[in-house]
Amino acid sequence: MKKIFFILPIFLIYLASENAFAQSRHLFTSGLFPEAQLSYNIANDFYITHKIESQHGMFDAQRLNRELDYSHTLTDLQSFIGKRLNPFVKVDMGYQYRIENGENTHRTIQQVAILQRSNFFRMGHRIRTDQTFFNEESILLRLRYRYTVQVPLQGTDLDPGEKYLTVSNEVIYMYQDSEDDIENRLVASLGFYVDDNTKYEVGLDYRTDDYLVPERFRSRLWLKFGVYWSL
């Protein structure tokens, strides 16, 4: 539990520093990011995954007085069907419905996930493509690569009741209407491995984007917490 009290101050200190430097009107927002995920087998090697994640804005450096103010940013509802090609490689196809102000969107997703094991940690590679459909705008195409390192904190293997650390980084290249951009997502979380069917995580999700758009570099920091069930 002590580690939660370590993550929270980092989050608050970062918020405070962004507040102090916000005079330059740096595009920065922050808030809460809960998520829940359920996976279950449907047939030999085939499985279904449902996920709901939601972003709730609490702070926006663009506000004149930089006060905390709640706003629902978005909620994503996702479902995937996947196949285990072997214990180390999985392929998934999914659909996402996004609820947000302005326009709700549809997204199709394809991914390959690869597991690598080492003496003291596991590493997951994920290559994903997705296509987002809008009413008026052109289709948004994205190509993503994420690696995640999961380190048990109480031994070399994860046993029920133990904690673990996950650190991941994802680079996203996106293309829409002849324009492109890059986004980066860095996440560090503390996990609680209740058993192989239930895990909890709490951590920080730092996203930066608009790298290729002049004078529009943007960053977002989310306090992320989630529960992950697999049946």
Partner: protein, 180 residues
């Protein structure tokens, strides 16, 4: 990693970090003598509910060694992590033949050479890097094999020439937090 034994049904192995101070003195002394004062050692305690062992993990001559001790500090074995390319030709051929004859698809994920013997012989082995006649050499191999349309992870034990001895199913922890 969750381990299930074919012959003994489901059993859970628990493994935890352990402070050096809680490791039997006999085990620490053997390790200090055999590995000539190697200091960067990680200690673990393992139990399957019945047997309790202490395990030291350390890097020695560019390879990871796992040294297992019984609860009284008596050394049980040394396991050395190697790559498939490090296998002797005859061993590799026998392993490959076993896998191709028993599984539609297969892939070796991890190989450890296991040396078992008296504490003196194991210490001599580390000094001289020769197994001699007194040590038992086996291979512990984790591999995936497709059998009857089902992909399974196995932990197999093979003799010094790569001949099959025994195997059991192992279940890898779920990867849902790594995949989504």
């Amino acid at each position: 990693m969750i381990v299930s034994s074919i012959s003994y049904g489901q059993k859970m192995e628990i493994e935890k970090n352990v402070k050096k101070g809680n490791v039997p003195d006999k085990a620490k002394k053997w390790l200090k003598d055999a590995y000539e004062g190697k200091k960067n050692v990680r200690w673990y305690f393992q139990t399957d509910g019945e047997k309790e062992v202490y395990e030291a993990k350390l890097k020695w001559k560019r390879r990871w060694h796992s040294v297992e001790f019984l609860a009284d500090g008596e050394i049980q074995n040394i396991e050395i992590l190697i790559e498939v390319k490090d296998l002797e030709k005859e061993v590799r051929e026998n392993l490959t033949r076993y896998l191709s004859e028993n599984y539609k698809k297969s892939k070796i994920d991890r190989i450890q050479i296991q040396y078992t013997g008296s504490s003196e012989d194991l210490e001599d082995f580390l000094d001289e890097n020769e197994t001699g006649e007194h040590l038992t050499k086996k291979y512990e191999i984790e591999y995936f094999g497709r059998e009857k349309g089902e992909n399974k992870m196995w932990e197999g034990h093979f003799g010094k020439l790569g001949n099959f001895i025994e195997k059991r199913v192992i279940e890898l922890s779920s990867t849902d937090v790594l995949d989504f």
